[in-house]
Amino acid sequence: MEEDEEIESEELDEFEDEETSRDLVVPGEVVSEDIEHFLPGRGTILNKERTKIISLNIGLKQIKKNYINVIPLRGFYTPRPGDKVIALVLDKSPVKYVCDINAKDTAILKPKNTVKKTKMRVMRGSSQPRDDSSTDKYEIGDILIVKVISADRLNRPELTTIGKYLGKKVGGIVISIDPPKIPRVIGRNGSMIKNLKNLTNTSIFVTQNGRIWLRGEDMAHERLLIDAIRKIEREAHTVGLTDRMSVYIENEKKKRGIK
């Protein structure tokens, strides 16, 4: 089975950006007092007197054009339409599946979003039951790769499994890391994930809700990869991580005696 990888768009490579300074800021700390030249961007706010830009999160300061952003180091996943995420089926009823996507609400997967619609006209009139009206396709406890089709502050997110790479995952391991550190596991233009894949000879699928699906040829490779990802999560805010990870994996391979 050919495995696929998820390489995210450039907007997620902010950790590696040259403009990202390694200045650590915490909530309430003044990021800049120069409001004539800079505007508050993501993770920042103007103070009441509109004289200072202050940070809202614990994170790294970044200056992009005339915006000052703070890239968070801790946080939670907020679903957005179009995200591909790993979901766990928690419950099912005849009309819907309830999935955990590591967000504040559980998400809903309707059976009509699990079957392609194109052939239904041909099927009309036949005695076969319509499989888009029952929840027999997946079981409780299944790991699915799904896409978020709608999400907002008030309603529970809705999911679909129709699309490329989407559907049930059989085998492999799913691990969770801090969602803000996912861009670091992917790296600039997917450099880190390619590196990990080549060095440990495993298949990886990284999703934005902080969950990573992986499968290697044996347990030793999978363990090495999990340790490597934990190291990336821990050192996400440091410089030169991609190079250091290559060295780390090579050293660990020798130490553990795997090829």
């Binding site: 915490v26 909530p27 700390e29 706010i45 614990i58 180091l73 801790r74 504040k104 030169g240 991580l241």
Partner: protein, 252 residues
């Protein structure tokens, strides 16, 4: 016949050399040690040692509200659970939350709410669990301080941190950061907390008797102490990441 040990307080709360009973100057804080990320399963956590106080705080959220009827359709809610361990005080503390616990939970909630953006998370709750393992005066201030740290560690967007300290009067002298015995035997006790984004008081309680004309002086002394505590809070939050940064750059 139960054994009853009466609380006995010393007559004087100052030593002959002018220092307080634990050897501090009038405006000196007790030794403070802070650490973040101590509880693995929590979204954010912090630990604080403030003199003899030992307090853990853990933050979970945003998550669904249970019981459901507490959820607000237009904004999230902050729930604080301040609890004292049975072994935290001299007499065994009955584990059921009493009037005092409920009050302190409420004042910490009110104290922290202005710094959070609860309107961004309708129908959800942030939950802060504060467990006092060892208590020796000023736990409400220490709990507020450590709860703010835990919230910041969880990555909850905040306008700023919150720090708290108590000032009071013992034997006619104004002192900062009252210990357990000074709190009980002293004349006045004024816990106050500050939100740093607007430098406004977020908590002001009072117990005892004092001259209202001195209030400005009390608050000025509190502000000095709060500035010191704020610096320690910033250091605690940053050191978690800076140690890793130094490790990795030192290895190269």
């Amino acid at each position: 016949m139960p054994l009853i040990i009466k609380d006995e307080y010393p007559e004087k709360l100052f030593r002959e050399d002018g220092k307080r009973l634990d050897g501090r100057d009038k405006q000196e804080l007790r030794p403070i040690k802070m650490e973040v990320g101590v509880i693995k399963n929590a979204d954010g956590s912090a630990y604080l040692e403030w003199g003899n106080n030992k307090i853990y705080a853990a933050v979970y959220g945003p998550r669904e509200v249970h019981p459901h009827h507490l959820a607000k359709p237009d904004r999230g809610i902050l729930r604080v659970f301040y609890r004292m361990a049975t072994f935290s005080v001299f007499d065994r503390k009955r584990p059921a939350p009493g009037r005092r616990e409920k009050e302190i939970s409420m004042i910490i909630t009110d104290c922290l709410e202005p710094v959070l953006f609860l309107e961004l998370y309708p129908g959800t709750s942030f939950e802060v669990f504060i467990d006092v393992m060892d208590a020796d005066g000023g736990t409400r201030c220490a709990s507020t301080t450590v709860a703010a740290l835990a919230l910041a560690d969880a990555g909850v967007p905040m306008r700023s941190l919150v720090s708290a300290v108590a000032v009071g009067r013992i034997d006619g002298e104004i002192v900062t950061d009252l210990s357990g015995i000074e709190d009980k035997a002293g004349e006045a006790d004024l816990p106050c907390a500050i939100t740093w984004f607007n430098e406004e008081l977020s908590l002001l309680q009072f117990d005892g008797d004092m001259n209202l004309k001195d209030l400005d002086q009390y608050l000025k002394l509190a502000k000095d102490a709060l500035t010191k505590i704020y610096a320690l809070q910033l250091e605690a939050l940053k050191s978690k990441y800076l140690t890793i940064q130094n490790e990795s750059s030192g290895g190269e």
